[in-house]
């Protein structure tokens, strides 16, 4: 081995603590990249492959009952490649041994056996016999959650008749990667399942023989989706069509897309922070090493080593550090990515995850890590190489301190000598001071941004569960019923309070802008389910007007006072124009709201309801569950009390995992910055500090200078960290913005206080570790060595 390489390795080993502190920060960047970008790729690739192999439809449409004779006409719409008509319906399920009911979504399988579009992927058993009347295949997660084996039976209340069904197989479907039941907040495979039933049996059960109520279609590449949707809507309108839509409005895919978008925001926000801080640290530490090794550099040049060799020598030192960081990052990234994949497996039902691009992600992570280190090292290494040899051999001129404005200020403030030394040093090396402050600010920002999520979730939970949805359960009817159905619900066992609600699918239109949404109406004095705006204000809709989620209003470019066209997608499909009386900020879902009497009057109907919100006596919950199962008009119940608990648990769990990860990240940045900063301070000032000790300053006073400077910089960094944290949080909310949920941009002062406290304590601890070196400072040795 060459002597120079030996020097490199020995220097690296000697600098291990500083190198490790940098490597950890760099490793965070690599790990963050592998986790977020790797998962982004994996989810994207898996989704693409799954959709492609199992031919997910491009267009969905539903109707009340359309004749099959309409199909040739539909198939002739330009752009449509394949068309499949199905029977779909919601049913209540009676799971043996369980009081609580479950809901099932029936989807018919064509007489030929397997469908052409949205092909279910068999996981076990077989698809039901096309001729069988009581066989179903169910989605595998539903079977797993309920402990079903092949051949197990359960009963379903289908369109008013109770039927025993036998499970012949379990499947996964590209239509149900994210399986969320009607009215539910999050997936619960125990209480919601997909039942694949032969067409004949399904058609007979839902009275769809010779007809269909669900249509899916695949388009030719390059087909005009909007035109196809318009044509389909035109043809289906007479048969109660509720508006066709593409993948963008398909529930399962919306959730998957939102997750993928979120991973992308993480990819572009997090790794650059760590790579940036790591580059700065490399620059800072290497700069100091080169300053210390001036004589060695001069010597190497005198011995005839070329500039290139010398630059490479210092680049390699950064490279070794990067290498350690990259290896750590690869390990941590692999671990985090597998953890994340497991988390996804809980919510998303992919039959397989494709890690095809996996090694490229690792390579990209490694290359970016090396690039960050090289970026930080390059200027310093080149400067080292360019040192004129004769000059390098001489000790550097002592740094020039000038009396300036700050000095006069300090004199006026009567700062103590040590305090003066701190401030002089900061103003003498402003770039290094700024670098340290930048790193600390990033640590604060990462923490603040992470706990911002906590605050946002709290806000979402409070508004959604404590203020808006206070019911224990939502009883969903199979179709709209006269308002007296509410009284029937009130008579069910254990029901303490009940309120009806009418929900209609509508198409809102203003100018050329359209938006599908549901129009909700409730009596003005409701107490269980209320309309709550972002500020927590309960909103009542004035008669004759329309209130929209702000997001919907923005999408159709409407503001308060504007007339909005409302097209009902049910019944007589009236088209009415109503004034927009107000908008509200909503966090989960989107909707349009109207006064109850106004809606019924506009549709010229006696008051009707499509669901009932109830509060239940927990003691008689079982009786309620049992009773509901046997009522044909009830399509299902959504248990909000359960959802609330599950939501809370899941979110809390996810957030505490994320919070821990971010805490570790922030601590690593702070340690990296402060430890290295203080080590540099110590190395530069060893003589100075030793002189002070010899002059009679105590250890405490001397370390005050060292620790003080680190803490002054950390303090200066705080407001910048808060600002950067706001920026990151804001960027995240933008990345998360979708029709499914909008994360509120809430700022709780305690978040900043907490982030600052953690970072300042970590900084103090890191500086104190270096302080211990002062305690061990060998005064004689320091004074004897040549600087």
């Amino acid at each position: 081995m060459h002597a120079l390489d030996r020097k490199l390795l020995r220097d690296f080993v000697r600098l291990w603590a500083q190198a490790l502190a940098i490597a950890l920060v760099l490793g965070c960047g690599v790990a963050a990249l592998i986790t977020s970008f790797g998962m982004y790729q994996t989810l994207g690739d898996s989704r693409a492959a799954y959709y492609d192999r199992n031919r997910l439809a491009d267009i969905w449409a539903s109707a009340r009952r359309a004749p099959r004779t309409l199909l040739p006409e539909l198939a002739a719409i330009p752009g449509i490649r394949t068309l499949e008509a199905r029977t779909e319906g919601l049913v209540t399920l009676d799971i043996p041994g369980r009081d609580q009911g479950a809901a099932g979504q029936v989807i018919s399988l064509p007489a030929s056996g397997a469908p052409i579009l949205n092909v279910p992927l068999l996981q076990s058993g077989r698809l039901p016999d096309p001729a069988a009347r009581d066989e179903v295949a169910v989605n595998a997660p539903f079977a797993r959650a309920n402990g079903f084996a092949l051949g197990d039976r359960f009963s379903a209340n289908i369109n008013g008749t109770r039927r025993e069904l036998t499970i012949t197989g379990t499947v996964l479907s590209p239509e149900f990667v994210y399986t969320i039941g009607p009215g539910a907040m999050m997936p619960d495979n125990k209480t919601f399942g997909i039942l694949f039933m032969p067409d004949r049996a399904a058609a007979a059960a839902f009275d769809m023989t010779g007809a269909f109520n669900s249509l899916t279609a695949a388009l030719y590449p390059g087909a005009n989706k909007a035109e196809v949707i318009e044509a389909v809507d035109r043809l289906l309108a007479p048969y109660g069509g509720t508006g066709a839509y593409g993948r963008d409005r398909q529930i399962s895919d919306s959730f998957v897309s939102s997750e993928i978008d979120q991973l992308w925001s993480m990819t572009i926000i997090l790794p650059p922070i760590f790579f940036g801080v790591a580059a700065f640290l490399v620059n800072m530490v290497l700069g100091r090493i080169v300053a210390l090794e001036r004589p060695e550099i001069g010597l190497l040049k005198a011995l005839g080593y070329s500039n290139r060799t010398i630059a490479a020598h210092y680049l390699m030192l950064a490279g070794l550090t990067a290498l350690v960081g990259i290896l750590l990052g690869w390990g941590a990234g692999a671990w985090l990515a597998s953890g994340l994949a497991k988390l996804y497996a809980r919510f998303y039902d992919f039959p397989y995850l494709i890690f095809r691009g996996s090694w490229t992600v690792y390579a990209v992570g490694g290359l970016l890590g090396l690039a960050a280190a090289a970026f930080g090292a390059l200027r310093v290494a080149l400067a080292a190489a360019r040192l004129p040899p004769a000059l390098a051999m001489q000790p550097p001129a002592p740094p020039r301190f000038r009396r300036g404005l700050t000095d006069r200020l300090m004199a006026w403030l009567r700062l103590s000598q040590p305090a003066m030394m701190i401030f002089r040093s900061i103003t003498r090396w402003p770039f290094r001071a700024a670098t340290s402050a930048f790193g600390i600010a990033m640590a604060v920002a990462v923490l603040a941004a992470a706990s911002f999520f906590n605050d946002a979730m709290d806000k979402m939970m409070e508004v959604t569960f404590a203020l808006a949805n206070r019911q224990d359960a939502m009883v969903i009817f199979t179709s709209t019923l006269p308002e007296r159905a509410v009284d029937e619900v009130a008579r069910l066992p254990g029901v303490i309070a009940v309120e009806g609600q009418l929900v209609e699918p509508v198409l809102l239109r203003r100018g050329q802008y359209e938006k599908h949404t549901s129009l909700e109406a409730r009596r003005p004095d409701t107490d269980l389910s209320r309309i709550v705006g972002g500020s927590g204000r309960v909103v009542s809709v004035p008669p004759g007007g329309l209130v929209l989620s702000a997001r919907v209003a923005a999408q159709i470019h409407a503001s308060a006072g504007d007339p909005v066209e409302v097209e009902f997608l049910s019944g007589r499909r009236e088209v009415l124009t109503l004034p927009l009386t107000g908008t509200i900020e909503q966090y989960i879902g989107i909707a349009a709201y109207i006064d109850y009497d106004t809606l019924n009057a506009l549709r010229r109907q006696a008051p009707r309801v499509s669901l009932a919100n109830v509060t239940l006596d927990p003691a008689t919950r079982r009786d309620f569950d049992r009773a509901v199962k046997d009522i044909p008009a009830i399509a299902g119940t959504s248990m909000f009390s359960d959802a609330r608990r599950a939501f809370q648990e899941t979110i809390r769990q996810n957030i505490s995992v994320t919070a821990t990860v971010y805490l570790v990240l922030a601590v690593l940045i702070t340690v990296g910055v402060t430890y290295n900063g203080s080590r540099i301070q110590l190395s530069e000032r060893a003589r100075e500090l030793a002189s002070l000790r010899i002059l009679g300053f105590s250890r405490g006073e001397v370390s005050f200078i060292l620790v003080g400077e680190a803490m002054v910089l950390a303090l200066i960094a705080q407001p910048f960290g808060w600002l950067a944290g706001l920026g990151i949080a804001w960027a995240f909310t933008q990345g998360l913005d979708s029709d499914l949920y909008q994360v509120p941009f809430v700022i709780v002062p305690a978040t900043f206080a907490r982030a600052s406290l953690i970072v300042l304590l970590t900084a103090l601890a890191s500086a104190l570790v270096v302080r211990r070196r002062i305690d061990r400072l060998d005064l004689v040795a320091v004074m004897k060595t040549r600087e």
């Binding site: 060459h2 002597a3 120079l4 030996r6 020097k7 020995r10 220097d11 000697r14 004589p295 060695e296 001069g298 010597l299 190497l300 040049k301 005198a302 011995l303 005839g304 080593y305 070329s306 500039n307 004129p388 040899p389 004769a390 051999m393 040549r786």
Partner: protein, 235 residues
């Protein structure tokens, strides 16, 4: 008279610090010969180090010419100067300038790694009497020993010239003598032309020739009719 290794003609060096211009060399005409052991004497600030640095290719002159054998060093670019230093020059500095993280052997290896026809590091260390301390780090060696490692490092490449800037400046008389003996031995056995800068007038007696410097110019040169052995030098 043997051939000249170095020849300078009107060599000047001006340091421009921005505020003041310092004339370090004021037109030096000098010749140094193959196999010669020359001592450069002069008061502090007289330009000795400046001259040595220019001869060794560590620095460039402001005016005039300097030849190494028949090669004009003036105007050589950085890359050419680096190659020149690597192939022909051995340096010894006042403050040893050893790499702290390398052992004695490895410090010598630093040179042998990049030279064309080097001796083994252990051989070079043997020549300066440190054959037994091969694997010691600088911190484990005395000042005199460190300086002898520096000499071993300078001679290991079998340089054509050995340039020493106050090699005994930081040493006491006993260890200084050991260092001088090492230098003399190299000069005697390898015939390497050697230039030694010193403040120590006593050392002049071991030289073939003594060159006195003052204010950037040569004050006088004198040849020693009889050289004495370093062992007889005391200060």
């Amino acid at each position: 008279m043997p051939d000249a290794v170095f020849r300078t003609e009107g060599l000047t060096k001006v340091y421009d610090t921005g505020t003041v211009k310092v004339q370090a060399l004021g037109g030096v005409d000098l010749a140094l010969y193959e196999g010669e052991f020359a001592v450069l004497l002069g008061p502090s600030g007289s330009g000795k180090s400046t001259l040595l640095n220019i001869l060794g290719g560590l620095d460039t002159a402001t005016g005039g010419h300097v030849w190494f054998r028949d090669r004009d060093l003036t105007g050589l670019k950085d890359r050419a100067l680096t190659a020149y230093r690597r192939d022909h020059v051995g340096f010894v500095f006042q403050f040893y300038n050893l790499v702290a993280s390398l052992t004695a052997r490895e410090n010598v290896q630093l040179v042998t790694d990049v030279s064309r026809n080097p001796m083994a590091p252990s051989e070079a260390l043997d020549m300066v009497g440190l054959g037994a301390r091969l694997d010691h780090f600088p911190a484990e060696l005395s000042g005199g020993e460190q300086q002898r490692v520096a000499i071993a490092r300078a001679i290991a490449k079998r340089p054509d010239v050995l340039l020493c800037d106050e090699p005994t400046g930081a040493l006491d008389s006993k260890t200084g003598v050991q260092v001088l003996q090492a230098l003399k031995r190299v000069n005697d056995e390898l015939g390497t032309a050697t230039v030694v800068i010193t403040h120590n007038v006593a050392i002049r007696k071991m030289a073939h020739r003594v060159i006195r410097f003052q204010d950037g110019n040569i004050l006088s040169t004198e040849e020693n009719a009889a050289r004495i052995d370093p062992a007889e030098i005391e200060w």
